[in-house]
């Protein structure tokens, strides 16, 4: 298949390109940027006028719900959601059932994902067996099976000695550790940010200290062990400030925020809207603004969707009993573009946070459109309006705080290894 993507605006931050360029693809690879290789005759030409042509998006956190939670979502539905949202590579956390703590499970997931021929799936292995926080997993075996790092998903390691040894062990082999900073004791039982809204609504609070205490512990342990740490889904201003200072001190740490948290705050809970029941909780306006600023000044390295499809029954409950999480794979791009517009910066800055930057965190040859490399491409119309409605979403999870709202920016074509996997 030879494809000519014609008349689009190429945004390839890794290569410093933000200009009108045609893209030429053959045999799964990029074969020409701006000018076609000699004798190139396309079988298909995609008219990308008024569109942005970007590397395929890389999502650092998307739950596919397999194995174990197929009633919430299946690999088929969520992989379709990914490519509809322009996501060509995604990292999935290990909190499946059973958790991804054995090589066989990881191999099965990779095999199932590959057979669907859609987005590329990069699993995170469990850091501890059963995510129980007591025994280390066979990290080297899991790495060979295809894990790109090790994580605990939303389960905190409460035993700090185990945490330190896990970081030491991972550092021994140069494996990266991905942790969401949350102190298990401080967050226990909580469902909402300890702020004005939780006070009014009488919801059990999660103090910002649950995050800052954990960030502090992690940073100290990283200095001690030399582990490579990626901090997942920061939610507080103070936690972010600690990362900013650590980076300035030369600590080898990266971090991301979710697309929900860069737009929403505790105020969006309204009258107990369980679609806003997320983990970490939506924090105060000050926190949200700090995260947005952190994206601008480079403290935050990437935006992820934190895609968590939840079935309706699990959301139609009193707030605290409802399951946390929101569908977001299909909203990741428009929400990131919205942030760029509101911040009055070029859209290519948002594209970088979804492509080149997450690729750097993963250490993989992805997230760029260089000649001779994989043609993972996302072509989107940044000005196309659409409304977030259950029927507009491919994901089996229909719950999102943005339900009913208008989005700007929709994917026209998604290509993985030069194959068109989505046509909008």
């Amino acid at each position: 298949m030879r494809i000519h993507i014609k008349g689009g605006h190429l945004a390839d931050p890794a290569n410093g390109i933000d200009a009108a360029r045609d893209l030429y693809i053959a045999a799964g690879k990029v074969v020409g940027v701006g000018t076609p290789p000699e004798g190139f005759t396309p079988n298909r030409t995609l008219d990308a006028s008024a569109c942005v042509v970007a590397p395929g998006l890389i999502d650092l956190s998307a739950r596919l719900r397999e194995p174990g939670f197929e009633y919430k979502a299946t690999l088929e539905s969520e992989m379709a959601a990914a490519v509809t949202g322009g996501v060509t590579s995604l990292v999935c956390p290990p909190d499946t059932d059973p958790p991804l703590d054995e090589p066989g499970l990881v191999e099965m997931l990779k095999f199932r994902a590959r057979s669907l021929n859609q987005a590329k799936v990069f699993p995170l292995g469990a850091l501890t067996r059963g995510l129980a926080g007591a025994t280390l997993t066979e990290m080297a075996e899991l790495k060979d099976a295809g894990c790109v790092g090790f994580a605990q998903a939303d389960v905190a390691v409460t035993d700090t000695l185990v945490l330190m040894r896990a970081l030491q062990y991972a550092a021994t082999f140069g494996f990266s550790v991905w942790l969401r900073p949350e102190d298990g004791s401080l967050a226990k039982g909580g469902v909402a940010h300890d702020g004005e809204v939780a006070t009014r609504l009488g919801l059990s609070p999660i103090s910002p200290c649950a995050e800052t205490v954990a960030v502090s512990t992690l940073l100290l342990l990283v200095r001690e062990t030399g582990a490579r740490l990626h901090v997942c889904r920061l939610s507080t201003r103070d936690g972010l400030e600690m990362i900013r200072r650590a980076k300035a001190d030369g600590v080898n740490v990266t971090c991301d925020v979710s697309a929900n948290h860069m737009h929403l705050s505790e105020l969006d809970l309204g009258y107990f809207d369980s679609n806003c029941h997320l983990r970490p909780p939506l924090r105060g306006l000050r926190d949200r603004d700090a995260l947005r600023h952190g994206l601008l000044d480079g403290t935050v390295d990437a935006i992820c969707s934190d895609h968590t499809p939840v079935d309706d029954d699990a959301k139609q409950l009193p707030f605290a009993e409802s399951e946390a999480g929101a569908t977001c794979l299909e909203l990741l791009l428009p929400l990131s573009l919205q942030w760029a517009r509101e911040s009055k910066i070029p859209l290519s800055r948002a594209v970088a946070l979804l492509t080149a930057q997450p690729a750097r965190i993963l250490g993989l040859d992805l997230g760029h459109l260089r000649v001779g490399h994989a043609a993972d491409v996302c072509v989107f119309d940044p000005n196309q309006e659409w409304r977030v409605e259950p029927k507009a979403l491919k994901s089996q999870g229909k719950n999102t705080p943005f339900l009913g709202l208008e989005m700007l920016g929709r994917v026209r074509w998604t290509l993985v290894d030069g194959q068109i996997v989505h046509e909008g």
């Binding site: 609070p205 107990f272 009193p318």
Partner: protein, 317 residues
């Protein structure tokens, strides 16, 4: 992100009573004024009015309660409604039926009103969002969130003894963190124009952002009670008396129990309220609970009149 006040109908009238928050003072006064003649009804020999004849009211209690359920039942019966009591508890939920399934089933039996108590904040809102437009929901207590009829009967009691809200200093004392009663009281006092509402308690029993509810915070009970006109005591639940919130009931009583000595710091004509059931010797001394300044039993009597008022107003809207 639904932000419209879910308890008012399109005409701005009360459709459900879910929380005091967001209700205008006129509606609170309307309820208190409506309750006034009902007090005398409850003192008559024939204690019945035909206002809710033919209506079916479900007392839907997902959390055990005798007192609140009984007062709602009496109020409904005095208005000639048919009352069905359902103590669902948490066990039948674990049998698999969801909250909304339960409500849908009862709606199919042509309920006119649900009175809901639930252990989780927001349960009454959830039900109100999913019932047919002709069904009214009254929140009889949801988690730590709200207990609006309790706050209204407290306001009725204060108005009965003090007449004018705009000249009062009121102290709310105790476990505000876990209290739906306190949250509703604080909103009601603010809406009705009480110029100074105080919250008194140890830091472990006050929400971090309690100041944003519109109260002055005191940790020293002696300072907090100085010159107040009304003392509203809260119940300290047994399971919270010894642990990481409060070391022991004795120590709690020493700092925050209402004794005669502490009450003497308030205005001489100050009244003392308590939503019940009381823990004598923990949050309140018997000599105060049974003393001349206590209005705890009149609160119970007024509670029936106030609940009759809420039901009759909802049925008329």
């Amino acid at each position: 992100m639904q932000q419209r006040n879910p308890q008012l109908n399109a005409r701005g009238e009360l459709q459900h009573l879910l929380t005091i928050e967001g209700l205008p003072a006129e509606i609170l006064h309307q309820i208190l004024d409506t309750a006034l003649p009902f007090v005398s009804v409850t003192e008559r020999e024939v204690k019945k009015l035909p206002l809710l004849r033919g209506k079916t009211i479900f007392n839907l209690f997902f959390e055990p309660s005798t007192r609140t359920r009984t007062t709602f039942e009496i109020a409904a019966k005095r208005l000639s409604a048919d009352v069905v009591n359902l103590n669902i508890g948490t066990s039948s939920q674990s049998k698999g039926e969801t909250l909304l399934d339960t409500v849908a089933n009862l709606s199919a039996m042509h309920a006119d009103m649900f009175i809901v108590r639930h252990a989780e904040s927001g349960a009454a809102h959830l039900i109100a969002r999913h019932v047919a437009p002709n069904i009214h929901v009254i929140n009889a207590g949801d988690g730590r969130h709200a207990h609006p009829t309790q706050a209204l009967l407290d306001m009725f009691t204060i108005r009965h003894y003090k007449k004018d809200f705009t000249q009062l200093r009121v102290a709310v004392v105790g476990d505000i963190l876990h209290s739906r009663v306190a949250r509703s009281q604080i909103h009601a006092l603010n809406v009705l124009g009480v110029p100074e509402v105080r919250a008194i308690g140890p830091k472990t029993l006050l929400p971090t952002q309690v100041g944003n509810l519109g109260v002055h915070v005191y940790h020293d009970m002696a300072k907090g009670l100085k010159d107040v006109d009304v003392v509203m005591m809260l119940r300290l639940q047994n399971e919270r008396m010894s642990g990481s919130l409060v070391p022991s009931p004795q120590e709690y009583f020493k700092s925050y129990g209402l004794t005669r000595d502490k009450l003497a710091l308030a205005r001489p004509d100050a009244i003392v309220l308590h939503p019940g059931p009381m823990n004598r010797g923990v949050e309140i001394d018997s000599s105060v609970a049974d003393g001349g300044q206590s209005v705890i039993l009149p609160q119970v009597t007024f509670g029936i009149a106030v609940r009759m008022a809420v039901m009759s107003i909802l049925a008329g809207n």
